[in-house]
Subunit: 113 residues, 2 copies
DNA sequence: GTCGCCTATCGTATATTTGCGATGAGTCGG
DNA sequence: CCGACTCATCGCAAATATACGATAGGCGAC
């Protein structure tokens, strides 16, 4: 047994209601960035995984995907660069979780299409 | 003045209500494909343009974007391969329009996240 | 038919993405 | 301090994406 996290990760949930405009050049760039981050099946699966265990997992992701650890780490970096997920260091491991704001933003941008 | 199209393009609008499941491996692939298609600012702009003039435009897209004609054509091909848009030949020009089903599908998939 | 217009495709060059193994950087337990 | 463990990064190879000019093909006007 381990129960390593769930204590100091992904708890803030500060409801920040600001979402920018849904069209214009900046919105286009934003939608493109978020879309590109989701533009690979492995990254979609990671996002889904993080949502299912809405507590954040870490290297369990590697076990769930048929990819090498370094490849998964790279996909995680891609998602993090797009601000879709966050990674908090928790002892020796890293605890990833969804950034709900980005997900809301994506829904708003896609919904505005 | 021209008013070339608006006559034989994008009129069916057959409301087909079937949308597949929103999770599972196939849904992951589908979301990844649609997202990748939107993963470039130029393609986002094209989609927005086609939605604004919801009648379909053709080479006007080239005039609206700071890209060469061949590059725009390539982006259009990308969107068409993802089934996000459709291109109907209308005399010497090609009339592009949004595929509403794909857009609904994208919204459903993103909404299910 | 020939000409001009519009679009797709080809060929090319460059940049980015994707994947892996190997290596480094960090933490915890002894 | 020393291993064991977790994760990020580096280096590399192959594949894909992006952009352009040049070219080919279809259609309408003449």
């Amino acid at each position: 047994m381990s129960r390593p996290s769930q204590t100091s990760c992904c708890q803030p949930a500060k409801e920040q209601a600001d979402l920018g405009p849904v069209e214009g050049d900046e919105a286009d760039e934003e939608l493109a960035t978020l879309s590109k981050a989701l533009g690979h099946p492995a990254r979609v699966k990671i996002v889904r995984l993080l949502l299912r265990r809405n507590a954040c997992v870490c290297g369990d992701i590697v076990d769930e995907l048929p990819l090498a650890q370094s490849t998964v780490s790279q996909h995680l970096k891609g998602l993090k660069d797009a601000n879709l997920i966050r990674g908090d260091v928790d002892g020796p491991r890293v605890c990833y979780c969804i950034e709900p704001r980005a997900l809301r933003r994506l829904r708003a941008l896609v919904g505005a299409l």
